[in-house]
């Protein structure tokens, strides 16, 4: 696929702007309802915290049918006096364009990186278009560590409901921490800050026809930054509240893309993660405070039913992936009463490491392998929800920390088996 900046209309717009200091990207697909708020927050954040910088907002759209791009074009802040401390000196521009390539968040980000490179920006940020809790301060928190402190990558840190972010909490965060030794709490948070240099580095990688072009982009950006020794920090953004996910969104496809990208990165950086034996804290910017969170509905019985169905029907597939002992435990668990339904950390970590090894050895078609993980993931989520039913947010964090410890404990034997 040719670069989006080669398109005549985009080239004209880039020539018009010339060069910029800061770029904020907003990927979107049918987000007309929420993107107006995001655009206003971004514009206010740039005006309030970076009035003397030339700034650009890029909306990279996946072919929305609900007028998302029109909302971006027409949205503006009428009254700056209520939020501004000083008057804007430099210009603010908006570009709203449909991206090309595989439909997905990663392709949208690629377009943002290309425009960032063409405008030679110093710092970039990307924020989701369905956010309801974004404030102008998010822009300051994501951009300032890059502009002022020389960081290359700013990962978000949020307060989330104890049941939210289950792929993050049970797989991606502990695995990334154990493998690469950096304690980045939200590696697939979705809202990031990064330097223009890192955006250029991302573009040197040929990954845009893989799962990175879809939901795999977040873990790919984080891991690429860590594994290539870019300076990484975190910014506390408060609560993350966004529009409800599309109920038609396929969980197994999402899991496949995120975990698939994570496993692919393990192949690419195997020499690096095999050397890592400890983990270190990553600096946090921003003032940490407690926030109220919206309640989350959970149907535990349905989750257990899905796990049980998987254990009954997919045992033949899992047999070529999991050790006999783990498989026996899972079969017993499928017959457990709901109140006794528990998937211990050790079993879960062993499962994930064995799936990673199976992917490494090409034991099965990759899509089949990772999609067969879905019932196990749902079972683990059900177990976690039951376990954390009466726990407070900090207590849940402790449980996640314990899980990270198990990932770290099992890592040496996993690394030995990775040949």
């Amino acid at each position: 696929m040719n670069s989006v900046v080669e398109r005549e209309d985009i080239q004209g717009r880039i020539n018009e702007i010339g060069q910029a200091d800061i770029l904020v990207g907003v990927p979107s697909y049918n987000n007309a309802r929420s993107i107006g708020h995001v655009v206003r927050a971004v514009q206010a954040g740039l005006a309030k915290y970076f009035p003397d910088r030339k700034t650009v907002l890029v909306n990279s759209d996946g072919g929305s049918k609900d007028g998302t791009m029109d909302v971006v074009h027409t949205t503006t802040i009428d009254d700056f006096h209520s939020i501004l401390l000083s008057h804007r000196v430099e210009s603010f521009s908006k570009i709203a364009i449909p991206y090309h390539g595989i439909p997905g968040k990663g392709s949208a980000f690629r377009t943002i990186f290309e425009i960032a490179q063409a405008l030679n920006v110093k710092a970039c940020a990307v924020v989701d278009s369905d956010l309801r809790s974004i404030t102008p301060e998010w822009i300051e928190l994501l951009i300032t560590p890059v502009m002022r402190d020389g960081y290359d990558y700013v990962a978000p840190l949020y307060h989330r409901h104890k049941y939210d972010g289950t792929i993050t909490n049970s797989i991606v965060y502990p695995l990334t921490r154990a493998l690469y030794g950096k304690n980045v709490r939200q590696p697939i948070g979705g809202d990031f800050g990064f330097s223009g240099k890192l955006a250029g580095f991302y573009l040197t990688k040929d990954v845009w026809e893989t799962d990175v072009a879809r939901y795999g982009i977040d873990i790919w950006m984080t891991t690429t930054a860590i594994a290539n020794d870019f300076r990484v920090c975190q910014a506390f953004l408060g609560a993350k509240i966004h529009d409800a996910k599309d109920p038609g969104a396929d969980l197994s496809a999402m899991l496949y893309q995120v975990v698939g990208a994570t496993f692919d990165l393990m192949e690419e950086y195997q020499s690096m993660w095999k050397r890592v034996s400890a983990n270190e804290a990553v600096p946090v910017f921003g003032f940490t405070y407690e926030v109220g969170l919206e309640p989350v509905g959970v149907n535990i019985q349905r989750m257990i039913d899905k796990f049980t169905l998987g254990a009954q029907e997919l045992a033949g597939v899992w047999r070529s992936i999991l050790p006999a002992e783990t498989l026996r435990f899972l079969k017993r668990l499928a017959h457990a009463a709901p109140e006794k339904f528990r998937m211990p950390d050790e079993i879960w970590v062993d499962t994930i490491y064995n799936f990673a090894l199976a992917a490494h050895r090409n034991a099965l078609n990759k899509e089949h392998l990772l999609k067969s993980l879905t019932p196990l993931y749902i079972g683990r989520t059900a177990s976690f929800v039951i376990e954390a039913w009466d726990s407070s947010g900090p207590e849940v964090e402790e449980k996640i920390d314990t899980l990270c410890g198990v990932y770290e404990k099992f890592k040496p034997s996993f690394a030995d088996r990775w040949t």
């Binding site: 939210d164 409800a244 149907n299 039913d305 029907e313 997919l314 078609n365 067969s372």
Partner: protein, 236 residues
């Protein structure tokens, strides 16, 4: 004397002459057979080493060929099995050439007919092999997708897809071999047409209520979610 000459000596001489004519062919034929056996053995070892170097066994395990051989009672690894096939193919080819070298008209005629039919056998074997592989692949894909969709009859769906593809490949293979060409096709059409018709009657006409209850109870476990306890968990 003349009698003895005609009855015994002349036929014997004639037979001896024929034997003398046949002898070089026989020796050539035996020589070819021995060369074939030796070459077959050598090529089997060479191919085995090549297959192991390119890790053919791993690929075979991945696509389900290893499982297929095990089910068929073959205990060799896939590399060893294919290398053995190569070896036997070489021996067989040399054996055929050796037999042709004998220049026996009846055998030559049979061999001609056999060689004309051989491509059909080869094509049929390839069709069956691909049918088995595709059946396994799509059967497993259907099984995993059905489990993730919460279908209680996932196992049945997976098996149905797998068997359907394999039956289709058997039909195609038999058509290729020219065995009961029309009969097999018609039987295939009747069986599947019958299944579809039976389902239509059962669910559409015969037992509307039963079918509705059945679907509610067994097919869509997701219907049970709409009881006010929907999942709102954001997985990412």
């Amino acid at each position: 004397m003349n009698f003895l000459q005609r009855i015994i000596i002349e036929p014997f001489e004639s037979c001896y002459e024929k034997f003398l004519t046949f002898m070089p062919n026989l020796l050539t034929s035996l020589a070819l057979l021995i060369i074939g056996i030796v070459l077959g053995g050598v090529l089997r070892i060479v191919f085995l080493k090549i297959f192991r170097a390119v890790k053919l066994d791993r690929a075979a395990k991945r696509v389900g060929l290893f499982e297929m051989l095990a089910r068929g009672g073959i205990k060799d690894s896939f590399s060893a099995f294919v290398a053995r096939l190569v070896g036997w193919f070489v021996v067989f080819t040399f054996a055929v050439v050796a037999v042709q070298t004998l220049k026996i008209p009846t055998v030559e005629n049979l061999l001609d007919r056999f060689f004309l039919y051989l491509p059909n056998v080869f094509t049929a074997v390839v069709i069956l092999l691909f049918g088995y592989l595709f059946g396994n692949f799509f059967g497993r894909a259907a099984l995993i997708a059905s489990v993730n969709a919460g279908l209680r009859q996932s196992g049945m769906v997976g098996r149905f897809v797998k068997i359907t593809i394999f039956i289709l490949s058997v039909t195609m293979a038999m058509e290729q071999l020219g065995i009961g060409r029309d009969t097999v096709l018609i039987a295939f059409a009747i069986i599947f047409g019958g299944i579809v018709l039976a389902l239509a009657i059962a669910f559409g006409l015969g037992g509307k209520d039963v079918a509705r209850n059945y679907l509610k109870r067994n097919i869509s476990s997701d219907d049970k979610e709409d009881d006010g306890t929907r999942d709102d968990i954001d997985p990412l």
